[in-house]
Amino acid sequence: MGEKPKLERQAMCDRLAMEFQDGWIVNLGVGMPTLCSNYVDPAKDIIFHSENGVIGYGPLAPEGEEDPYLVNAGGQKVTAQPWMSIVHHADSFALIRSGRIDVTVMGAYEVAENGDFANWRVPTRKGGGIGGAMDLAACAKRVFIVLEHTTRDGKPRLLKRCRLPLTAPGVVTLVATDLGLFAVTPDGFVLREYAPGWTPDEMQNLTEAKLIVPQDVQAFRFRE
């Protein structure tokens, strides 16, 4: 079963980016979520916000055209959109806490069927890397999570309840994994779209939480 191809990271992030709506303010977490900015429907104006107070940055800067003063939350050199503005760090998080971020996309170690997620600390290591994740998780209008469906040694990451310390309780609404797309509803995880060649039963076997499989479940939608 492990031989079956899974979704590429870019496809997972593209799928979440398809959900972005015209005019949304979007914050992308460091790492895999930054791939979401590689695909934006040209018909939509998306305002990318970064914790360091850059509101309205554009794609990664081409080599040789980097401005060392313009970076996103991951420290990557980015370009400016014509509508870009700069605020200081406290105002940047005022924007976050006041609920003006339409969606934040983050990676995680675990997501639970009640919308809890964990992405900042593993108890076997001292300390944690919280950054802006708790502010974004608690206050953005929507929290999307992108993560591999299982750990490296095959343990499920879509759980009944998180085991690791939470980043925020009950906030996740949509999850993309390398096996499909899942909505988090009051009833639990609903399988919306499945990766090519995978059956709901095979996916359930790799998931601790119960997967709800609706009649209208679809094949995974790739970037057009």
Binding site: V30, H88, F93, R97, G129, I130, A133, L166
Partner: protein, 254 residues
Amino acid sequence: MTLQDATRSGAAAFMAHGKSMPMKNKIYASFDAAVADIPDGITFMSPGFGNVGIPRNLLAALHRRGVKNLTGISNSAGRPVDRNGIGNLIEAGQVKKMICAFTAPTHPSQVTPFVRMYNNDEIEAELVPQGTLAERIRAAAAGIGAFYTPTAVGTELAEGKEHREINGRRYVLEYALPADYAFIRAWKADTFGNLQFRLAQRNFNPIMAMAATITIVEVEHDIVDVGGFDPDHIHVSGVYVDRLVHIPPDGVWD
């Protein structure tokens, strides 16, 4: 007469009156001179995010000065290999405690001097969510004692803290975070200490500049005379700034 003209003619009248500008000299000749009186045991703020806006020249001077038992307030606690960063102070054993948003690396492979020392209990740390850290600094700058934030509610970082329900939502109490010294990296400054930053360099710089008892600034461009900036285009008022050092050509420019 436009407002701008009025401002200009007002300044001209002021100068014509024969009064000298009401200010002390804030310009220091070197970074070492600007930190020469800093004692052991102070709390200091160090801005910077994504390698931009870090006061590297002042941190290097503080490193050379060798003061100890420092408490550092910064977004992160240094990089695996730091160069004129807070990590050099930590590695040299000058810092007893860090207050920051990262006390573990985002990737386990990134083992910084801080992480090594923290794992060996050689340094203390207080982990603060980044927005809470920024707002605690802003509160200190604004004379606010504490505030309620929704961030971290329902997580272990809120355990043991005072909670309150406001309009149906749960919040946690967080206290203002002042400092003795702030080290600031600015793009431009005038002799009064009015500051401008460029793009993402701004990050924590303005709020830290306003939250410390003594604010020391390293400046990239030549420090201009007062009147050189449009008052509407100043990011931090010079009233918050105590010392200015222009970064020389052989200084640290990244």
